[in-house]
Every structure is written in C-alpha cells, then in structure tokens.
Symmetry: C2
Subunit: 339 residues, 2 copies
C-alpha cells in the first residue's frame, strides 16, 4: 500500500509500505477513506532529526473495515468506522470513567499510520465507532473531525464546565479552537469571545458561533477582552504557548476555570500565590476522544454541527507532502487527505 512517511523535519514522502495485517486477535484492518494532518504532526515536521527508517504518519482517519481478528465481535467487513486519535480497549478502569486517553492497554498510532491506504487498529472493538453512513457520504469531513479536533474542542467545553448562558473565551483560531467554539455554543454559551488574528479563521469562528473576535495579543488582548466582557468565568486555551496561558490568566475572573487543549510548550507554569489567591482552576488536557464520539455523532448526522468546515483543502495521498507544507505555512487551516 501507499502511505505517508516522515524522514525528518520538512521531509514527508509517500511510498510503498507492507499492507497491514491482523496481528492480535482484537485487531481490525481499516481501508482509509479520509484522513487528516494534525497540528501535532507539525511538530516533528518542524523539528524531527533526519532518519533512515522513517515514521509512518497519521492518527486521525475514517474508513471501511477490511478484515477483523477472531476476537472482534462488534464490527464486520464493510462497516464504515471512525477512530479516535488513540486506540483503547474501552473496558479498563480509565475507559469506564471516560478517560480513554489513559487506557491501560491503549496507545498512539504510529506503526502504520492513518495517512495511508490502510491501518491496523488494535483493540478494534474498543476503539472504532461504527458510522451509519455510506462510504461516499457528504458528511465524511464532519465525521472525520470527530477523530480529534471536534472531540478535543468538546473536551475543553466539558472540562471548563460550560453551560447555558455562559460567557466563554476561546484562545486560538486553529481547528481545535474553532471546534471549541462549536462545542461551547452547542452547550449553550451566550457570549463567545474568540482570540485569534487570522481573519479567514476567525470569520469561520463567527459562523460557528463566536460573538466577538479579539485580534490583539498580550496585554492589549487581555485589556480588550476585559473591556468587552468584564472578564470571563471560563476559558478554553487551544494553543499551548505560555503567551496563550497568560492571556487566559489575564482574562479569567477570580474563581474561574482555564481548560487547556493545546499541549503545553512549557514544563513549568504560573501556579503560585497569585493564582492561588484568585482561586483559578486549571483543567483540561489530552482529550479522551473515544468517550465523546457517540455523544456528538447525532449532532453531526443531523447537521446541527458542521466541524468538517475546518477542512479548507483536500489533498490526494500523493499530495501529502504538499498538505504538510500548506499547513506549516498556515495557508491551510486543516488538510483533508483522501487516499
């Protein structure tokens, strides 16, 4: 099969790889219909040391079950399925709590990646969610968004405790930030301030439900948010930089909650006496996407939410190197790859 493999920073190649096979009895092999490039794929694209062996890429995909191992009972050949961005058994104590990201038997894709023609999926029964659509459904992009960005945005809204009538700040106009706007709107937020400076993206954010856009950064951005809202009780930080966290801390009211969705690009952060006296809660983290797919699925199927709109360009598998380049250059918000 053909698949995208990264050999170092800026070096993604599409090449022939062995076809994935059932190894464990709980595996399935999924023929990929659509996949995406994740924001986190851009980190190795920016910094990975050159290697001879290469690393198959892609952990967000949707496809058709081609083969199942002897212990897979809930899926059969021909099922259309979406995967969360990590696999999980859906039975361990963490999965039972809805924290599939910490599954005792789970992990990240990587042996053969989703940006290819087929993928071996471990713990297929626990991982894959069957979709009641045909392989040519117009809904595929929005269903694919459930593999990561939409379920991640929803995780921010849930952990921030967003509810009806809330004022919420979303920091970051990437695909996760925009999906967070969808999520907080869906949970009833009334005032949704989106902090971002890329106009095409913030315009999409407005269509998703943002009531205000703040393009200023740093102290100026905080002042503007405070001027607009008087401060907010709930913030979703969908970037991961210290500046984004500082914006969140500056805009949040005492007693408020900051939910982080962007993987922190820092090891230590401000949780000293000042934040303590203000009773700031810091929550969020890596999304247990699997826990949310079935929750959000009905809203995607009936068109109530359309997170697939974050995919602003489609690439063939052979164009995967272009997809990376376009996302890294911020010419494309989120790339859809159709093998």
């Amino acid at each position: 099969m053909r698949a995208a493999v990264m050999y170092g920073a800026g070096d993604v190649r599409v090449e022939d790889r062995p076809d994935p096979k059932i190894i464990d009895p709980t595996d399935a092999v999924v023929r990929t219909l659509a996949a995406c490039v994740c924001g986190s794929d851009l980190w190795p694209y920016a910094s990975m040391p050159a290697t001879d062996t290469g690393r198959p890429m892609g952990h967000e995909f949707l496809g058709i079950v081609e083969e199942t191992g002897p212990e897979v009972t809930g899926l059969k050949t021909g099922d259309v399925v979406v995967t969360p961005f990590t696999y999980s058994d859906n039975t361990c104590d963490y999965c039972v709590k809805g924290l599939h990201i910490s599954c005792r038997n789970g992990g990240r894709y990587g042996f053969d990646g989703g940006q290819g023609e087929a993928v071996r999926v471990p713990h297929a029964d626990g991982t894959l969610v069957k979709l009641p659509v045909a392989a040519d459904s117009a809904l595929l992009p929005s269903l694919l968004a459930l593999s990561d960005v939409m379920t991640t945005g929803h995780h921010g809204a849930v952990t921030a405790g967003v509810g009806r009538g809330d004022a919420v700040l979303v920091v970051g106009d990437g695909a996760v930030g925009l999906c967070a706007v969808i999520a907080v709107k869906r949970l009833g937020a009334e005032r949704i301030v989106l902090a971002g400076r890329h106009e095409a993206r913030t315009n999409l954010g407005r269509e998703f439900g943002a009531t205000d856009v703040v393009a200023e950064r740093g102290e100026e951005g905080i002042a503007r948010i405070r001027e607009l809202t008087g401060g907010v009780d709930k913030v979703i930080e969908a970037v991961g930089t210290r500046q984004a966290l500082d914006t969140a801390l500056g805009a949040v009211l005492d007693g408020g909650t900051i939910s982080r969705l962007g993987v922190p690009q820092y090891e230590q952060g401000p949780i000293g006496p000042a934040e303590f006296m203000r009773n700031i809660t810091l929550t969020g983290g890596a999304s247990p996407a699997r826990a949310y797919i079935e929750q959000l699925l009905p809203d995607v199927l009936d068109g109530a939410i359309t997170p697939g709109r974050v995919f602003d360009r489609t690439f063939s598998l052979d164009q995967a190197p272009d997809a990376y380049r376009a996302m890294a250059d911020r010419q494309v918000l989120k790339a859809l790859i159709r093998p």
Copy 2:
C-alpha cells in the same frame, strides 16, 4: 485595650493600643471572646524584618458586638458573632458567586488585629455571622474554627468535588489538613488517607475519619499511597510546599483533581506536557470562608463535627508570645487565645 503586635521575626509583644472605633458607617466593633494563631501568622513570625511601628496580628476571632455603625442593620450590641478571616460586603458580584475572598470591597484584617481585646470589623453586615450561642458556650472553639481552618478544609473538599464513596488523599496533618479530613468525611468519602508524620496529629486525624495514615514522604510516600489505594481521584494538598504538590501529583490518578489549600511556597509549578497528558485538574485556593460558615454551622451546633479539637492549648492574651513560640516549634497544633 491590650493586643498582640508583631515587631519582627520571633518578636510578638502584647501592649496597649487605642480602642477600636466605628470609622465607616458599615463598621462594627467586636469585643473578642476567642482568637487563634493562624499558620500564616507563622510566616512573618519566621521572616518579618524588624520594624519600629509593629503590626497588629490576628484575623480569626469570635466575639460580642459592642457597637455598630449607623448603616449596620443585621447586627446589634450583644450579638455573639464569628468572622471569616477576611472581611467582605456579601453583595458584590464575587460575593454573590460565593467567592467572598475576592470581594470587590473586601480585604484582610491588619489595622487592629483579632489577637486583642477588640476589633473594628468593616462591612460588618456582610462579614460577621451571628451565632445562636451564649458567650460562655462550650462550642466556642469549634465555632471559632469556622473563621478559617474548618471552612478552608471544606473549601478543599468542595473544590475537589468530594462525594459519597470517594477515596481522598489529604496531604498535611496541620489544622487545615485535619479539618479537610472532617470535611471529606462529612461529604461521604469512604477512604480517607492522611499523609503526615506527627503522630498526635495523625491520631486526631484518625478520630476525625482518616482510614489510613501515611508517614513516609517523597517517592516512598507516593508508593505507599498507591499500594494502599491504587491511586486516588481526589487530593487535598494542605501544606503549600513543592514536595507536598509532588506527593499529590504522584498519588493522583489520571483525570484526577488536586485541590490546594496551602499557600504555595513556589511561583512556578509542574503544569507541562506530562500533567497535560494525564488530565490533572488543579483547583482550590484561598477559601471564601464567609460562603461556608452558615452551611457548616448546623453541624457544629449539633456536634456532628468538632473541629475545635484542633485547638490543643489555650493561652491568655498576655501569653500570645508563648502561643506563637509553641506553634512555631510544633509543640502546639493550633493555639487558642482568650483575651
């Protein structure tokens, strides 16, 4: 009147001070019946630079209303009252949310302190809570504990989201940690692990409801807690050191919550990718004691909880210097002062 005044590290003196008077129309003057030395009083006792002017001490007290300003409507001379450790108007947006510690018109005591014969209380209607007891009630110590340690312990339990059947770790066997044990027990926790190494205190913790005591510290302590519990979902960190936070992080399960009650003795802390991937929530902070006094009062009045047991020695006002010394030397858990 006589009052305790700190002139520098290790230097507390009891001396004559002007009698407090009504200044603002919302003030009351309270004649002190009982006061305490707070753990936070020990920081200046350890490190305050010497001064000529001195700083009146004490922000936890209980007493009798002596005089009220013309705008005070809810209190009258002779009422027995307890104060939270900060004053607050009980009407601003923060107070309405129950976050009295951030009151827009609130603040900390300090002009004339609670460790004295009388105190001017600003925003008396918003601050003081009337107690349905006589001035010689045997319940005074437990009622006095509502001014800080008991309401602070409760804040930890509330912000950690403790509920029926939970397993909870309380780090720290000081008065706040012990009151946190009372609070989590009161909210239905089943397994309560108390981390502390001062045997008299951990024994009191057991009487308050701790099911297990872990005396080991650092990695050894974490291993012991994990061995006992398999990890806990909720931790109350009632110390404030980095070591205590590290113990909390080591013992908490992925997706768990750490509520901090000890003022952090650090500015930056570990909130990087590792904690992010684990979905750790960091919450808690300075307690809005005023919000909780009426909630906890019935349980104190009917003897369901007895937080006053943390006071293990009573001092006269003239003995205030001894009270500080005894607490600083850890000979006394919490000192009660009776002017």
